[in-house]
Symmetry: C2
Subunit: 218 residues, 2 copies
């Protein structure tokens, strides 16, 4: 029982560390990075300050961990949401749906810290995270280009992304319903507003097998 060399993967108490990162995300989200002390975080998880510094080397490492999780959760959600969606409008809807849930769902604190406290990271930390977050931007960019090439939107894809994404991030200030009540109606309304169409017209186009760039709808 003692000394099981192959399976003892030196797991640095990952459970505790995740709890700490979760608490930090919530508190950073509410009070800001500079406005939240390590003492407060320690209190939230029921540890002393010294114990926090046993799990993380510094307060900034905690911020980096929060943002890194945000990026990875976001990537996972959006990858899953886009899987199998082949039509331009289908992909738009999936993207909007996934991002709205990222911003307003259970893990909204993490996403908020990502967007609000990004500049508080040191340059080296930003460089480390930049690659992953660029992937996220690329997915959005590709979707915008697909919409553009199929004449659903008429502004260049970059500008269109700059219109849509801040609007989705801003929903956290005016969506106040329970996480999953907002589903169909809200997502369709936002997609329609972005395309400047009445909701009915958006749904009609969504459901018709329209000019589909990547084939494969039977």
């Amino acid at each position: 029982m003692l000394n099981s060399p192959a399976t003892k993967k030196k797991r640095r108490s990952p459970v505790r560390r995740e709890d700490i990162v979760d608490a930090a995300a919530k508190l950073f989200s509410e009070g800001g990075y500079d406005g939240t002390s390590v003492r407060t975080i320690a209190g939230e998880v029921g540890l002393s300050v010294a114990s926090i510094f046993h799990h993380v080397a510094s307060k900034e490492e905690l911020l980096e961990a929060v943002i890194q999780r945000g990026i990875e959760l976001g990537m996972a959600d959006i990858d899953a949401a886009l899987k199998g969606k082949t039509t331009p409008l289908g992909r738009l809807r999936a993207l909007v749906h996934a991002h709205i849930h990222l911003v307003n769902g259970d893990r909204r604190h993490i996403h908020r810290v990502w967007t609000v406290e990004w500049l508080k990271l040191s340059e080296s930390a930003r460089a480390r995270l930049e690659m992953r977050s660029a992937e996220y931007r690329d997915i959005i960019q590709d979707t915008m280009r697909l919409l553009f090439d199929n004449e659903h939107i008429f502004a260049e894809p970059g500008l269109s992304g700059h219109l849509l994404m801040p609007a989705l991030n801003w929903t956290r200030t005016w969506i106040h319903s329970p996480p999953d009540k907002c589903d169909r109606e809200l997502v369709d309304s936002i997609c329609a507003a972005f395309l400047n169409l009445p909701v009915d017209e958006f749904r009609k186009r969504l459901n018709s097998v329209e000019g589909c760039a990547s084939g494969m709808t039977p």
Copy 2:
């Protein structure tokens, strides 16, 4: 010469105070409210900490002063911009133009503090400023309704405002040109993207004497 009762309007060194508010705006904008110390602000204007507290009662009063100025400057700009603009698209363009300059022009620091640090204000300070900032939202809302009533947009006016305004505020992250270089091309592109029209089509509709709700175009 001494004792001139009528004209001695008891002006509490307004020059200095404005300098301090300006410096605070710049530093709050760059480092955040919690991340900026009164010491740093004092250094920026060449005063000691104690002298700062001769002009303002607390650090929070300084934040309130910055945001109050932001709101008032914004109101003044947008009022001036909308003056004489009667067509729906003309008003949209004026609003976008004014707001882009508020966010990216010389006074961009003040606007940024307004949007980013709003929640750091005490409840009483927020209540004091709420009325003025509601006027700003109302102007936007009215413009959205005008566009809706004239069938330039198809989403309800509230949602349309939630699409447009965060996008305009977000321009500060991707507009990097000198303040007034961005004029015509950029503003028209954003208006067109919001209406989901090609830029040419937007300009054509803007310049035609279209269905004008409030008359008065000769």
